[in-house]
Symmetry: C2
Subunit: 135 residues, 2 copies
């Protein structure tokens, strides 16, 4: 399929990378906050479409995982958007709890300060990971 | 650096992939819209921090590019956030014009409809690419 066709087609034609994965950005539909980025394989894409629960593929654990399966912080998918190139996904979700295992609503809780060249924490911690992820 | 240290340090420690690249999500600070995703190498990260203009690395053209260098649609970087793992960047920008070369404000102009299994165009076209990218 040509580049122009990929941009205009109504047929989903995801271009997975050479590992069979595609990056998926997760955005909270209510606040507009960008919550996290994770990877999906084709099975995770299909599962997300069917269950409407954000489902990813873990490269380190080599398996599919449903967001919230340990924490209960599931992400209910309202929209699954594709970009012009069809090589990036944007999930617009109702977030049932914070997205970040480090205790923040969003994984993007640090800002790189160009003047100090350090990271400033710009979000509030909303839970203690030790309480949520019990061993 | 351990996983916990990466999550809590104030030291920027970007974990580039095996091609020396890191994905960068671009969000409009005013509307909250997710505009696009592109890749950065270390030079593009440094250039973005210094010039405050979103700068990426093109894998197909094998060179750095400043967003808006052809179209004039530059992205003025207000914040450059890192995620917990320090392997994804979120640029929060003032967008001087639409982000997508296909003519939309955001590259994510199509929604994958789970019922029809087709892509629905959910954004309005705001310019004709032929007028902006003259040969």
């Amino acid at each position: 399929m040509s580049q122009t066709t990929i941009e205009t087609t109504t047929e989903p034609t995801i271009r997975y990378n050479d590992q069979g994965l595609v990056p998926a950005i997760v955005q909270d539909v209510d606040s507009g906050d960008v919550l996290m980025m994770a990877w999906m394989n084709e099975a995770a894409v299909r599962s997300t479409l069917e269950t409407r629960k954000a489902t990813f593929y873990s490269r380190s654990r080599d398996k599919m995982w449903v967001k919230g399966e340990s924490s209960g912080h599931v992400q209910e998918v309202q929209e699954m958007r594709l970009d012009c190139d069809q090589d990036t996904i944007l999930l617009r979700v109702k977030a049932h709890g914070p997205a970040c295992h480090a205790g923040y609503k969003s994984c993007f809780y640090r800002n790189w300060n160009g003047e100090t060249d350090r990271l400033d924490v710009v979000e509030k911690k909303v839970f203690d990971p030790n309480d949520v992820y019990k061993s």
